[in-house]
Point group: D2
């Protein structure tokens, strides 16, 4: 961490600051120039409150050299973390595909789709029970009943299930969920993250609509700081001025995330664009860019889907995408996990 000290600071103030930094177990190196004094702070600065330092009277600017996260940081865990849930494996050489409908609608629907996607090579089943909707008047999901139907589909197919939690108060209902998803709108619901950090279940953490890569990793750090190290990141598009697509999928984030952290990161091409016909090209692109997997919306009757139908593809299209992905995987040193 580098601090630039204001020109008009008094020696006493500077001495106090240096003493205080040293008291945190950190070392300080000082460069005095004619117009500015620069302090270099060396050591584990992830525990330093950068806002507090910035607020000090004598500090002009603060620049971090090292990242503000530690448990998620690849520097301290050079090897890829591999997260397993039944036969699904995320990270390392594994490429895992989660598929299923936007919303669980009925037992027949979810079981039928589960069978279809398993046959095409998916290793986990997604399905929304609690649905975050912009309008209070829109369909909010089957909620607790939807969770029960997902468990039926799991029983029938053996696929682990992935579904979104929207409130700490629903935690009891999620006891048998294999991978708990935190949606984009709750990425900085810190109280929820802390509670999920106390569980021993993989958390699929989606990137917020307008969150930086650093903030996203910090939210993973919230979960990990409470003890749960099994975090899977999921890029799903960010909000920009472009409105032809619902969001702008940020694929550059994937190789960057893999440099910065040891956690697996997958891509959601369905929500990113909101257009079914973009799912195939974005899935191939995500594979080529080095993602650890995909989460794809598949419906056996997209026109009748109760929500987000326009971004759903059919099982046959899903199967075709899977076939093409398998050709790309060796180029990025990956294998389809099944």
């Amino acid at each position: 961490m580098i601090l630039v000290i204001k020109n008009d600071s008094q020696k006493r103030q500077l001495d106090n600051l240096v003493s205080w930094i040293k008291s945190l177990g950190l070392n300080v190196y000082m460069s005095r120039g004619e117009n500015s004094t620069i302090l270099g702070i060396i050591g584990d600065t992830s525990l330093v409150d950068v806002d507090l330092i910035r607020s000090l009277d004598i500090v002009e600017t603060v620049k971090r050299i090292s990242e503000p996260y530690k448990k998620a940081n690849r520097k301290f865990h050079p090897d890829d973390t591999i997260i397993e849930s039944s036969s699904a494996r995320f990270g390392g050489k594994n490429f895992a595909v989660i598929a299923g409908p936007c919303s669980v609608e009925s037992e027949e629907q979810i079981v039928s789709i589960a069978r279809d996607v398993k046959k095409a090579g998916a290793t986990a089943l997604r399905g929304g029970a609690f649905k975050p909707r912009t309008s209070p008047y829109a369909f909010q999901g089957l909620r607790a009943d939807g969770l029960k139907l997902l468990l039926v589909a799991k029983e029938v197919t053996g696929l682990p299930i992935v579904t979104e939690i929207m409130s700490v108060t629903h935690l009891d209902l999620f006891r048998d969920v294999d991978i708990i998803q935190v949606g984009a709108r709750n990425m900085q619901n810190f109280e929820l993250l802390k509670e999920l950090g106390k569980l021993d279940v993989p958390i699929l953490l989606k990137r917020g609509l307008a969150n930086t890569i650093e903030e996203w990793i910090m939210s993973a750090e919230y979960i990990m700081s409470e003890g749960n190290a099994r975090v899977i990141l999921c890029e799903r598009g960010i909000r920009t001025f472009e409105h032809y697509t619902r969001n702008t999928l940020d694929l550059s984030a994937i190789p960057l995330i893999k440099e910065l952290t040891h956690l697996p990161v997958i891509v959601d091409p369905s929500h990113a664009s909101g257009l079914a016909r973009l799912v195939a090209p974005l899935s191939l692109a995500s594979t080529g860019v080095g993602a650890d997997g995909l989460i794809i919306e598949v419906h056996n009757n997209p026109e009748k889907a109760l929500c987000d139908g326009p971004q759903c593809i059919r099982p046959q299209q899903f199967s075709d995408i899977m076939d093409r992905i398998r050709v790309i995987l060796p180029l990025v040193n990956k294998e389809m996990c099944f």
Copy 2:
């Protein structure tokens, strides 16, 4: 609502769609052109799930003509809503200023600041007890203890208190809070909004970092749809590519919000820029643009503030801003509420 129907649609499909729309109690007008057929849907379309319609096979595009919100909509409530809490009044001709520290730190601190801001003309006291922080390692607020200290300051000064809630599970602790704040990061925490909609207490709803004006009003609609009509909106800056300021304060939103809704809307100039020296100019600008009030961070010792110090101003500066605001108020047909 206008639907453009695909060219290759079959008559049977179109007839089905028209029947279904009429079954919702809405009227349909049809324009058949050579290349496209257009349906105009007339009636209360706020209850229609636009995503569901968009997902239909024969629909090319859907465009709303009327807004998707109803209870918050000025069309159905032409008069300004005025929300009162003790002597504070938001909306109509009233201009109300909430002031106080970012975080509650001690009884001495909060009581002293409360007295100072009351003297300068503030009608409510703000103070953070539960603090949403990007890093799990940063100071998270005094939490329940902070709420108790706020109640002491209320007891001493008579000022109603405004503080942020971060989880449904904390609701019991907020029984005596006068105005409950929902922070930017929880603007789309829909389960929290629904619970707050069941209370009879004013809710200060901050705009999310990357949320559109329409989404923001829809979040107010979530609260109102459960019965609580006392929602105060608060603009606090949106996220853009510009990084000299922490956020970009969107003052154009204020007159638009007042056209679209009957709810009061105030501005937070402190969080918008993150720079204390911008609080005064942005406060004057917010007054000139027609806001119903301000929420300003004031600290008696900004350099020692435990969080967000750089954006805090001192009581003397606050008092000076209040004096200048009073000159502008008659130009926008407002009066300082006290």
Copy 3:
């Protein structure tokens, strides 16, 4: 085009509007509802000035159904346009790669790189002579001398050359340039676009930093409206709040562009991220998403490059990327052009 007419409009005004629209050779269909009147305008609305209509007293909103561009529109030219320059072919089943240094620095440098990239499979040589730099104090390119060196490299290798024009006044210098590039900052330099529209040479039109897909196609339409139909589009990243990468590469734009227009569209993975180590993953992603080619910065000594060194890769890395791209091409029904 759909017009929503204000409720309080007088019949005479509406009649005038309808007459005027018909005088433009367009048909009008009217739906009168209780609360609003809707006009559907059918015909070639690309020639209608939407701002002019929006400004009329009786018009509440205007929504285009059809696109405001015509010559670039796939609806009127269903087949892919294929643009040739020597052996380079852009569009259709062709995949063409342009490679070369950010800036031309010396004859030795440009000839050596030209040979290297040709050997690895590039079909055109890029190299900056006129360089748009944010600072007036930064290196501005070798300018006219740089163009001469590019022509030497073309002479030696036979590769067509691609280089950026920054001013109408330089047009004479560009007589022998095979493909003239318009940079992101000049995407809406309309006077320059019009002049380029009078030439018979392919134009590589980069997307502006903050331009929508529609604005980008409209800039292609500017060139085409003057007679030059040989426009190649190039996605190079848009500006967002994320700052770990210089720009956010918008790969979803590629399949959308190919739906909306018949023009070829390529990707610049080097400028998009500004990081050399992201060039390989973003090149594979761009190929998977269906782009018609790539433009990649290659330098034989990136550390010594006079500008934009951090995003340059070496010839050996370039050759490795080309090998991997060839595996993906059959999946997207493309062939490497050489």
Copy 4:
């Protein structure tokens, strides 16, 4: 400027870098830590090419401490620059208002509006002759004929005229223009900026749609570096995800610009929102935030305006805004210039 040197750098490379920096007339201070070495460069770093340094093999990151602009920098010119054109004065205690129609349409129109706005207190007349339009099919302005009509209005009223240039090749036509405007789309048309830098006429430099404050000042620096120090900055809104307004007016930029530079900065409330009914509130806000003036679109018949009608106000509304502005000016230590 601070350089963080990579851990694995060799002593010889570091020595070479230090020597090279010193050869530029700069001083270097070095802090060696266990994990990183930090170089502080002291002196006039505005002439250093930061991209070149970043590209060096041994450099991990570069952070500027001082700004990359010099002539525009308030540090080197602490006093406000005041720019005069006839009776209009921009900067210092002056508040100057430019008003007039979006486009010049006829002699009668421009002369009539010029008289109206002069009467209401405007000190300069704006009017578009060359119009940058997204579509090649939209009205492009009266061009050279429009300039002639502006000169007639100047002759009649004595108001200096402000109008936009779109190409270096039109410079001859602008001989008698008092203030030459560079539009948002040409803010980084560097070849145009350089030519304008050779003139002795005030340049009104609008902020680009997606340009940072720093890039904007750098474009002023381009003009100033060629000798023309008379640059007036103009904030007109930036592009964000919010689409209810055409752009998001960034009023926080005003006090920041005035800290960073000594140049005057005015606001365009008309183009910022694109809505006539927002012009009054945004004008009051701009005055309160400390701008040096305004540029407002006024039309005597907005419904008939050939372009951008929806954002035009009438002379009577303009006069009313001016009256309210005069009340705010003393609060920000300004006087209306006339």
